[in-house]
Structure formats: structure tokens, C-alpha cells
Symmetry: C2
Subunit: 223 residues, 2 copies
Amino acid sequence: MRTETADMPDFSPRQNEVLEQALRLLVEGGEKALTTSGLARAASCSKESLYKWFGDREGLLAAMIAHQAAKVRTFERSGERLSAELLREHLELFARDLLEVLSGDVSLALNRLAIGQSGPGAGPNGSKLGKLLVEHGRRQIDRRAMALIDAGKRVGLLRFDNADAAYHTLYGLIVSDLHVRMLLGEPGLKDTARQAERAIDAFLSLYRTEKQPLEVLRTSSAR
Amino acid sequence: MRTETADMPDFSPRQNEVLEQALRLLVEGGEKALTTSGLARAASCSKESLYKWFGDREGLLAAMIAHQAAKVRTFERSGERLSAELLREHLELFARDLLEVLSGDVSLALNRLAIGQSGPGAGPNGSKLGKLLVEHGRRQIDRRAMALIDAGKRVGLLRFDNADAAYHTLYGLIVSDLHVRMLLGEPGLKDTARQAERAIDAFLSLYRTEKQPLEVLRTSSAR
DNA sequence: GCAGAACCGTACCGTACGGTACTTCAGAGG
DNA sequence: CCTCTGAAGTACCGTACGGTACGGTTCTGC
């Protein structure tokens, strides 16, 4: 949730500043508060510049998504050899991070915005924003989780034939209907750690191999 | 998905007719296509009548949700004693029905509408529509599933201490992130039956008791 | 110091919406 | 036949938005 506008690749610092204000307006007042005039006023720029930079209101929204996605970086630190306990720990950390990201103000506002624009009436580029959001916003998260469960499989702690299906199961166990409920205005859940723990318990029950956490380390691949 | 307007409790037949047209407009053109003038034209009524009947645009939207919810009835036929196979069958049927409902045009349109209105800028009644939608639209579904898994527990086929948590797990396993993805404009998933089967497999793996002669262990791999 | 570009602030235009008022029409009841 | 009630159709109003145009100002390169 940084507010820095240092090294964004796609936009100039000034433009990132404007995008930051746009996100602020969107978070605070919803889509209806994000008007070109309002943004120009809030960001102290001219509407003409907005249209020169982003071409269109659609372009502005897409730029906001890209800008926000560029701020969310997931650290993929691995290297250390996975034990059963370490795998569980990493999975729970992933679950907590996922829940935190999904319940964040900016994420919810952007998802509401994209969903509102994804109706059948939005012409050919109707779900363009939706596509953008799910790709930009999800890729990092997906990669992190996939790498994690793949590593778990590689060391023999997890067992599945379809990594994609396993990941979707993991996602469903963690998120359930919380995302939609929050999008509908329900206040965020009380205890994310508890939810994460339960989800990972279930996931491990489904996909872990039979070796008990204490007797592991004596596998065929032990060196 | 009936179009009959027979015995709605809250509104007159004429009003239900208008609400039906409103839903049609919303499904076909998204929120922006649902204007008071457009609805009056499409439903051959006057705007004045709209405001007399529903008071407000918000009231119209709420009436649409109530109207649609009144159309979705879930049959709760039980009575027959549950066997393991019967329980699985009912769970899979529930999963398929849930996925079908969530991917329905009207459901998606109404969810988009409510989500679009659920931003922080909508004052005190901001998430009013969202609350309405989740209550009216979900209660039937929730009750059906809860009754099902409760029955499963009562006859000793399922085992859990927190029915609510078990139901949320079931929901997450079935829906995963499909709902949000569809709300974002992604086309509905290809094979709901497959998804339902996998979800129920996982759910039963988690919550069934050991006393079942389950040599089947339906493989959730390729078909 | 100067020319040119970039940009801010603002005024402006066309449009479309929510909501209201007014006129017209159809039917029910005496 | 007359009247009254309710609803359709339409015209209208205020507002607000997206997008454009223009004058004034700051920054940059030479």
C-alpha cells in the first residue's frame, strides 16, 4: 500500500501522481466520485492533460489498474528446503496475504469499478477492464501460490495431478464467498488468521501425502 | 427462471410486469440501460407511475431484487433416508444448481448492479441493495445446503462441529473464484458438472465419516 | 533572453438522466 | 349520461457528466 511514485515504467511521475489521486477519489467516493472534472480539480491538472495522457475515460481506468498492479509486488523468496511445517507456514502466510489484498480498499474499489463496467452493454471492450484486472491483479498472486504448491509437490509433501485444479481448490477454501460479500458492502471478516488456518488445514487434508509431519525426511529422494 | 407473474405477494400484476421488463433491460444492456424513461417506454407505463409505485430509483432496484428472489424457489424434498450415495448425489445436484444460478444472466446482472451501488459513496443506504441481494438471494440456497449437510450429520454420514464453517467450505469448494470472474465478464465455465463433482469429492473427503465402504474414491483426474 | 512546448484553469457544448407537472384517455359507479 | 379515478404519454426542468477549445502561465532548450 505504498504511495510512492518512483519508478513506474509506464507513466511519468506526474501521471502517476494523478493516478494516485484518481485511486483516492475512487476509494473514497466510489465510481460516481471519479469524474474527469473532479480528478482534474483534485490532482491540480487540466482535463485537457487527462485526455492527452490517457486518451479516454476508459484509458484512465485502465491506467489506474495498471498503476495499482505495478505497486503490488509479491516477494517470492524460496531457496530454503521445504519441511512440512514450513510448507504449512508459507501456505498460511499466502492465505492471510490473499485475504488482506482482497479486502483492501483499493482492491475492492477497483473490482467494483471493473464489475460495473463489465455489463453486456459495454460493447466489444466491455470486459476489457475485467480482463485487465484479473490478469494484472491476479498474476502475481497466482504465480506465488503455484510456485508454492509446485514446490510442495516436488519435495513429496503434496500430491495432485492437476496443479491448476489444486490451486483453485486452495483459492476457494481460502476465499469462499468472502470476496463477493465484501464487494457487496459487507464489512471485512473479523479474524483472517482463523479463516486462513482453517483453509490451509482443509487444503493439507486434501492434498498432503501420507507421511506424518514428524516422520518425514526419510523419503526416497532424501540425500 | 420462470416468467410467470402469478402470485407475487408484494406487487400487483401490473407492477410485476414492469419489474420483468426492468430485469430484461438490465440483463440486456447493463445498468446504464436501465433508465426510468427507457423502462417507462419498454413497459408501456408512465414515469409518474414508476415513481408512485416504487418511490425512487433505489426503490425500483430493490423491488427488482425482491421480485427476482420471489421467483427462485428451491425445492426441499427430503423424507427419504440418506445413504452415502444419495448424499453425494444430492450434494452434487446442489453444486450444479448453485453454479447454474450464479452464472445465470439475471443473477449476474443483479449482482453487478448491487456491487456497483455498494461503493463508499452511497450514503447510509449504500450497501442496502447488497444486503438485500445477499439476504433474499442467498437464504434459499443456504437453507437447502444447511438442511442437507445437517441431515448428513444426523444420520452419521458427515462429521463436523461447526455447520456454518462446513457450509462455507462447501461453498468455496464449489464456487472458488468463478463468481467473481463471471462478474468481471469472463464467459461461464465450460463444464459445471465436472466442477461440481470435484468439489463434492473434496467436500466428502474432508467431512465424511469413516464408516463408509468407499472403495470407489472417484478419481478426479481425466475423463 | 527568446521561442516553443507542455500544462493549468476555466469556460463551454451537447447530451442524457432523474424527477415533476400537465394533458389526455379509459373505465367504474351511480 | 356524467363524473371521478387512475394511468399513459409527453413536455419540461435542473443538473451533471464527458469531451473540447481557448487564454494565460511555467518550464526547457538554445
